[in-house]
């Protein structure tokens, strides 16, 4: 049974525990960063941050400031375009685990030419993979494959104190997503699930995607 995440952004407080837990579990080093005028830090995904809480603020129709948080990560697409593009150049550079549905960059991704790696990055509808210029590897969330294949929750889910993130069998997560959407719609009528048929990381958004992030959803 493929696994899925539900990320209910209406519960996210941007504590960034998930971001830190991911970095910690993958033993990713600290990087130099800079303040760009928001609390979003680092400013973007990079080879040392597979998970990033994105911040966005806007005024609603009443002039009230709405602050949205978006814990961005690889969506582990059901039909991953990145894999198809990578396969054309170096088969096996990106693979998909049948058991869990995890889409994984392998060591073979370092064999991709710079142009081919860029083609993979640009093919992603969610702007996720990043090229590590030192190792030449493509990097992104690996669904904590080592943990999940041992029956354990991904680190981001385990560390979330608010219940924003849930992880489990796809059919149970889809059922929970629909249930939560029905609850959220009572207070946020525009709420919707982002591309639930196409991805294994299903975001519940309270309003249009432009109020979160350009690549928050594809459809």
């Amino acid at each position: 049974m493929p696994k899925s995440f539900l990320i209910d952004t209406t519960r996210c407080t941007a504590c960034r525990g998930c971001q830190m837990a991911c970095k910690d579990w993958h033993n990713l080093p600290a990087i130099e960063t800079k303040q760009t005028g928001t609390h979003q830090n680092p400013p973007d995904l990079n080879p040392c941050n597979y998970k990033l809480v994105r911040f966005h603020e806007h005024k609603d129709e009443n002039g009230r400031v709405v602050w949205n948080f978006f814990p961005d990560q690889c969506r582990h697409c059901i039909y991953p375009v990145c894999k198809d593009v990578a396969d054309m150049a170096v088969p096996g550079a990106i693979i998909q685990d049948k058991e869990t549905g995890a889409v994984l960059c392998t060591e073979k991704s370092a064999e991709l030419s710079y142009e081919d790696a860029q083609a993979v990055i640009e093919a992603c509808p969610y702007n996720i993979p990043r090229l590590d210029k030192k190792t030449l590897l493509l990097t992104k969330c690996d669904m904590c494959f080592d943990r999940v294949s041992n029956g354990m929750q991904p680190m981001c889910v385990k560390s979330c104190p608010t219940g924003t993130m849930l992880f489990g069998d796809r059919d149970e997560i889809l059922a929970e997503a629909k249930k939560r959407l029905a609850i959220i719609k009572k207070t946020h009528p525009k709420a919707y699930l982002a591309d639930p048929r196409d991805v294994n990381v299903i975001f519940l958004l309270a309003e249009e995607k432009e109020h979160y992030y350009e690549y928050a959803s594809f459809m």
């Binding site: 209406t10 104190p161 489990g168 149970e172």
Partner: protein
Amino acid sequence: MQQSSQTAEQTFTDIMLWRPALKNFLTVFSPLFMAMDKLSNEMVTNFDLFALPACQPERMQNGISILADFNFPDLAQPLAHISAQLSGQLQALPNLQGNVDPYQKYFAQVHLSEQAILWRSIVTNDANILQELAEKLNLDAAILHFLAKFFFSVLLKALVTKTYGASDISKEWPWDTNNVWQQGYCPVCGAYPTIGWLDKPTIDERNTYLLEGGGRKHLHCGLCGANWRFLRLSCPNCGINESKELEMLTCTDNTHGESLDHCSKCNSYYPLVDLRERINIPHLDAQALGMLHLDLIAHEKGLMPLRLSFWNSFN
């Protein structure tokens, strides 16, 4: 999130992937565990079972389990049915091959007075109680005890489900209400637990920004299938609640949320699984059997299992 528990087979499959060394052992018992669950569920609907007494808070607050002084009606018919239905799975157990028939003949018509003796030996987990009966029947007391535990377990699980509802990990049992049951033994049958578990946090819609609970300790009775909440820092055997006396054994890598909780005062231990670590909710009886590797280490350290079972008795 409402999560369904795994079947015994699913839990065994996971554990065999993690610990291939246990594969031969678990493969032998997987069909038996599956058949027991199926039979127990069938009996709830297809068998004319009696109901167990309701939970009485005053009695339970004094540590008296529901079946402590319960007079069972004649169980000959359900026991005969269970014995016949599990015949194939028991015949397949390596040490019982060709040796089950006389026991099945016996369980096909157990006399009422002997049912009480069998029941006492199961709840107290003492095969010696059956010695006299076994000699009279020309049977082996240990095998009689071994089989009777399986048969009574199927029946009790069906009775518990019929009376108190299906066993669900997120269920609030009658004895959990107001914490009326605070003992280390089962509130229904009085047996010691085979395994403990720490629960997952839940979403409470009234609290928009934080998860509710998580990490509370529960104990599981492998005999009747009941679960009950228990103090996190207390020994179910001797009741001591000093943290320095309560210790934990765990693997150094890939723990899967598994550990053995043991008491350095009374030397008892029981397996524990932290469900906050797990994606799926395991079948608890299968999970306990799959932690045999920790039982071996506990045995080497001179610890005693809280509930003796066929997989953790090394003598």
